[in-house]
Each structure stands twice: as structure tokens, then as C-alpha cells.
Amino acid sequence: MLSIKNLHASIEGTPILRGINLEVKAGEVHAIMGPNGSGKSTLASVLAGREEYEVTEGEVIFQGKELLELSPEDRAREGVFLAFQYPIEIPGVSTTNFLRTALNQVREYRGLEPLDAVKFLSLMKEKMALVEIDQKLLSRSLNEGFSGGEKKRNEIFQMAMLEPVLSILDETDSGLDIDALRIVSNGVNKLKSEKTATIVVTHYQRLLDYIVPDFVHVLYKGRIVKSGTKELALELEEKGYDWIKEEVDSTATV
């Protein structure tokens, strides 16, 4: 589904990603872990098409298409969803209104009729139950005055509504208490299918207790330096990142 080859990206001339290679197949969950500043969030942003990052080398193929050639909105319409680490506030625009605009633009791109108000509402009801979100929250201004947990839950609700092919969760666990973490993870798990894939970007192992990955990759200094299964995450939890840093830094100096 997703094939990242030798991806290099920089911001204001500073290289952040320095040769990422990653294959993600339908039905899989990949966790991207790594110490702060290793490039995890940059990878998520580059895949979503954030303009501040300049791709200097490499290619990304998503469902047979050159992802990097597409505008951010077309990537979304092709089925790439990014759950933001810091969801953005849009005053005066309700989640409902926002999503209706989004969903119908996505549908138009895919050659589908726009959903009328009745169908949209019933779809909303269905997805609300899935992520245990209150309708009151959805009629308030998007993310404005939301608690950390409400913001993240809202992100997962949007994901449920837009039914992406590839979901990228950028530090979705940050700022969540244990109950919120459980609810958000449940939502993500219910949305998983054989046709979709998930990339979970996280610093801590605890999210992976709930969203169990098929593969774990450790990002360090802009490269994937170690890949394994969920046991790797447990090992990291126990030993921290220093041993990996040492391993990489020593081979680099040889």
C-alpha cells in the first residue's frame, strides 16, 4: 500500500529525514518510535504534505501513485489521514460543519454524490458511538477550548468519518489520561480492517498495549535504525533509547 524509498527531507536547510525506507501493507499496524528529535513527527508531516518541509530525495508510492506529487488535499482524498499531535482550533466552525465540508469534498473527488443532511447525520450517529464522543462537543467550535483528551478523541472521530486507507497517528497518546487513552485506542482498533493500514508514531510504549503493532521501527537521526515486532517496543520501554543510540553512534564512527 505504502512504499517509502530513501526519503530525505529538510526544514529551512536542516536535514531531518536522511534516508527512510519503509513498506506498509494493507491490514498492518506499524509503530514508529524513537527519542525526541529523531524525525518521527517530521515523517508524519511529510507524508501528509506539510509545506514547510522540503523533500530533497527519495519517493513515496501510495496505492500506485506518487504521493509526493499530490497536493495535501488530494493526499487526504486518496485516503491518507493524519491525526494531529496538536489539533488546530478553528473558531466559529463546528466539527459537524467542518466534517460535512471535508467529507463531501472527499466524496466528490472519488466521484460520489454528496451526502444529504439526513444521511450525513445518521453516519455521524454511527461513528459517534464508535469513538464514544458526545454530540455537544461536535457542535462547538472545532477544538476551541477542548481539553487534551477531547481534542484527540475528536481527531479519531474525524478519522472514523473520513474512513481513510492509511491512518497516521502522530503522538496521539500525548496528553491523554489512561481512560482517554483506552477510548481513543478502542476507536482506532474498531476502525482497523484488512484493507486499511495504520502508522502509530509514539514516544512511549504504553499506547502499544492498546494498539498492538505488527511491526516496530526505531527512528534515530532521521533513519530507521532498528525494526522488529512488538517485543522491540517492550525492550525499549525497559532499557530506554540509549543502547540504540550507542549502537548506532559507534557503528557510525567506525
Partner: protein, 481 residues
């Protein structure tokens, strides 16, 4: 919700969509401005002599005045002698009702999306349409007449209800008020008049639609709304003009009188031609709008959405004379390209326990300049006056300007006046967030701007709110990215 989407789908046309004009035979005054022209207009309109005298007096006063220069706008002065002060479509005879109006004129309005056919019109809005200098049609007159409501063109009101006109004309905006009000008083050609009798709640929205068609013609209309004690009316005003290279002048006067316990809601969606992308052409919109809350417990509420005009100079105001009277001003002013707007309000607290509320949302894009200018004045005997003002500015890009000029003048120590102001930019973060959900950039801007202006748009009657949202989006097209 479906409306919002409709709006977003309607965003395809890129240019000012009402920029066309139509050729038809007109009755025109010769170019220029002098006493003879004023007599010519007055004769043409078969006016009584008291009105001619009133005009001539205003003309004398105007001649002694000079153009105001304090506003934060810059434009080449207009040669007022090169303008035409009267232009009207030729009609073989005066239409008695809508069925007798020239079909060609009706077609113009159909093209603007305004049906004059009462059956076809949405329930609940009566409309008076003004083309260049004259009112061409008023709908639902008979329905309203049964309630004693008078809604007709200004010229007709002069003939049919001279006692009301004589009593109220110039009572809120005197001819001496300012340069453009004096000019309007001398040369005004038509407009709408509305009278709501005691205790009557007007069952439908009343509305005037202004259209400038002719070239080199100034439009000087006058609107007078009188709401007698314990009455209520909601009034809408809309306008468009053809796209022309030269600047055109629109200098209107609106007067509102509200008696005891009366309430008037006045909404405007202003969409005069703003000039092209290089700043060529466009309407100079120099307008005086003022209402007086004459009776106790009366209320006047102004809502305006300003998207058009090359230069706007406009301060819909409230004189809060009655005790416990309330004045409100809700405004969204959008400027793009080379547009300039200097707009705001005046709230004059005279009565005791008077309240006013000001919510102004400025949006500047391109190379435009957008100023809020507002005055809150609390007179000596206005005990317990309250004002709340909120002035927000939204900037798009880095070549535009937003300015706020609040004046506060308090002569009574019991007054409580609050002023809040914010300036923000549409964040790239916000746009990217929308993009990431599949929303194209232009639609994202429309969504964000409409959210920002929501508090004001919510004040508009439904049909107008939809129109206003569309206009906001259209005005800002191409201003990001």
C-alpha cells in the same frame, strides 16, 4: 448544513458576477450640478414646492461645505460636475402595480436573482427595487396595506403621505450633518419609505434592492423608516452595480425613527462593484445611516456585511434618546485587492439606562486597507449607560492593513464602557489542517472566514445570511496561496 455546502459549491466564478449592464432608453438629467439641475429633478418628479425649497436649501449648505478628509482612505477626488444626477428607465406610463412594470426591467432583476413576481418570491419578503435614480417596483404592497403598513418608493410617499415625510425627513440626519448628506438632500432621486403603525409587528421582511445601471451617474437614494410605538420591522438592503472602469458615486442617506417600545432591525449586504484587481474603477460608497431611539425601551439594530465598493465611508449610528433604549451594531467588512474601507458606528447615549453593543469584524486581504472607526458617547444625563465594543481584525497576507480608531467620550461617571480588540492572521496551520481533511485551500479560507464572522452573520435573516457567506468567500478568492 446543506446551505453551507451549497455555498462552497457556488464558489466557482472568479470575478464580480454582477458586472454587466443593460441598454435601454433612459430619461436623463444633463451632466453637472447646479440649481437648475435640482429644479429639473424636482419638476421631473412632480414634487411639491416645500420639497424643492428643502432641496435648494440643502444645496446652498452643501456649497459652503468641503469634502471630509479625516477618514483613513485615499482616492482621487471625483469631479462632481462631470456626473449625472438623474437617470431613469423610460416607461410609457407609471406602473400601478407589478404587473405593469416593463418586462425588460423585470428581466434585469431576474438576472440578479431577484424575482419581482409575488407568487414566485419566497414568502415573507416584500421588496422595493431601485434602478439608478428611481424605484421601479414594490411588491406585496396590498398585503402590507391591510395592516396599515406603508411601504413604497420615496417619490410615491411624497405624494401620498406628505405629512409623514415632512415630519420625519431630515429629522435624524439633518441636511447640515455632513458633506455627502447635504449633497444627498439636494439631489436625492428616490428610495424607500416605510411606516409601521402603532402596535403592528410587520409580518414579513421589507427590503430594498439598489442597482446602478447607467454610466457616469451618481446614485443618491434616501431611505426613511418610521416605526411607531410598540411596532417591529426587519429591513434588508442589497445592492450591485455594473463593472465600469471609472469610479461611480453612491451617496445615500438612511434615517430610522423608533418610537416607544418599537424595534427596528436593519440589515445590509453591500456588494457594489469594488474595482478590478489593479484597483481600477469601483464605487465610492459614502453613506450616512443613522437611527434615533426616540421612545423609551426602543431598539435599533444595524447589521452590515460590506464586501463591495472601492472606497467605503460609512458609520451606521444610533442616538439613544429614550430611557432604556438599546443600540446595536454588527459589522463584517471585507476588503481585498485595492479596496479601502473606513467604517464603524456611533452610539450616542442620551437617555438613562441605555445600552449599546458593537461587534465589528474586519477582514483585510491583498493590498487593501480596512479601518474600524467608532465612537461611544455618554452624555451628562445618561445615568447607568452601558456599552460593550468588540473589534476584531483578521489579516490575510502581509500587504494589507487593519486599523482601529475607537473614540470614547464619557460625561457621566456611572457609565460602564468595555472595549475589546484582537488582531489575528489566518494561520497556515489552520489551512493545512483543512487540507489534510480533504478541503481545498479556497474553501478552507471561506470556512475559516465564515467562522470568524459567524457572530455577525447570525444576526442576518436566513436568506441574507446565505448570500453574505457566499459573498465573503467570493471577495476573498485568490487572496491566499
Amino acid at each position: 448544513m446543506s446551505k453551507d455546502n451549497q455555498i462552497l459549491e457556488d464558489l466557482n466564478s472568479k470575478e464580480y458576477e454582477h458586472g454587466w449592464s443593460v441598454e435601454f432608453e433612459t430619461d436623463e438629467a444633463p451632466l453637472g450640478l447646479n440649481e437648475d439641475i435640482i429644479r429639473w429633478i424636482s419638476t421631473k418628479k412632480e414634487e411639491p414646492s416645500w420639497l424643492l425649497d428643502w432641496r435648494l436649501k440643502a444645496f446652498k449648505i452643501w456649497q459652503s461645505m468641503s469634502e471630509p478628509e479625516w477618514a483613513n482612505v485615499n482616492y482621487p477626488k471625483m469631479d462632481l460636475q462631470a456626473l449625472r444626477y438623474y437617470s431613469a428607465p423610460k416607461q410609457s406610463k407609471k406602473p400601478k402595480n407589478i404587473n405593469e412594470v416593463d418586462p425588460e426591467l423585470i428581466a434585469i432583476y431576474e438576472r440578479l436573482g431577484i424575482s419581482l413576481n409575488e407568487q414566485k418570491r419566497l414568502q415573507g419578503i416584500a421588496i422595493d427595487v431601485v434602478l439608478d435614480s428611481v424605484s421601479v417596483a414594490t411588491t406585496f404592497k396590498e398585503t402590507l396595506g391591510k395592516l396599515g403598513i406603508i411601504f413604497c418608493s420615496f417619490s410615491e410617499a411624497v405624494k401620498e403621505h406628505p405629512e409623514l415625510i415632512q415630519k420625519y425627513l431630515g429629522s435624524v440626519v439633518p441636511m447640515t450633518d455632513n458633506y455627502y448628506a447635504a449633497l444627498n438632500s439636494a439631489v436625492f432621486s428616490d428610495g424607500s419609505f416605510c411606516y409601521i403603525p402603532k402596535g403592528v409587528r410587520c409580518p414579513m421582511e421589507l427590503s430594498t434592492y439598489f442597482r446602478i445601471n447607467a454610466a457616469n451617474t451618481g446614485q443618491f437614494e434616501r431611505t426613511l423608516i418610521v416605526a411607531d410605538d410598540s411596532s417591529y420591522v426587519s429591513y434588508l438592503e442589497g445592492c450591485t452595480a455594473p463593472q465600469r472602469d471609472e469610479n461611480q458615486l453612491h451617496a445615500a442617506v438612511v434615517e430610522i425613527y423608533a418610537g416607544t417600545h418599537a424595534e427596528v432591525k436593519y440589515s445590509t449586504v453591500q456588494n457594489w462593484f469594488p474595482g478590478d484587481k489593479e484597483g481600477k474603477g469601483g464605487i465610492y460608497n459614502f453613506v450616512t445611516k443613522r437611527g434615533i431611539c426616540a421612545g423609551d425601551h426602543s431598539k435599533i439594530s444595524w447589521t452590515q456585511v460590506e464586501t463591495g465598493s472601492a472606497v467605503t465611508w460609512k458609520y451606521p449610528s444610533c442616538i439613544l434618546k429614550g430611557d432604556y433604549s438599546i443600540g446595536e451594531f454588527y459589522s463584517v467588512a471585507v476588503t481585498n485587492n485595492y479596496q479601502q474601507a473606513d467604517t464603524g458606528t456611533k452610539m450616542i447615549h442620551i437617555g438613562k439606562n441605555t445600552k449599546s453593543r458593537i461587534v465589528s469584524k474586519g477582514i483585510s486581504a491583498g493590498k487593501s486597507q480596512n479601518s474600524y472607526r467608532g465612537q461611544v458617547q455618554v452624555m451628562k444625563r445618561a445615568h447607568n449607560a452601558r456599552n460593550f465594543s468588540q473589534c476584531d481584525s483578521l489579516l490575510m497576507g502581509n500587504q494589507c492593513g487593519a486599523h482601529t480608531f475607537p473614540y470614547i467620550d464619557i460625561a457621566n461617571p456611572s457609565a460602564k464602557v468595555e472595549h475589546e480588540a484582537t488582531t489575528s492572521k489566518i494561520g497556515e496551520d489552520q489551512i493545512f489542517y483543512c487540507n489534510q481533511r480533504g478541503i481545498a485551500t479556497e474553501d478552507a479560507v471561506a470556512l475559516i472566514v465564515n467562522g470568524y464572522a459567524k457572530e455577525v452573520l447570525n444576526q442576518l435573516p436566513m436568506e441574507f445570511a446565505v448570500e453574505a457567506q457566499k459573498l465573503l468567500a467570493l471577495t476573498l478568492e485568490g487572496s491566499v496561496g
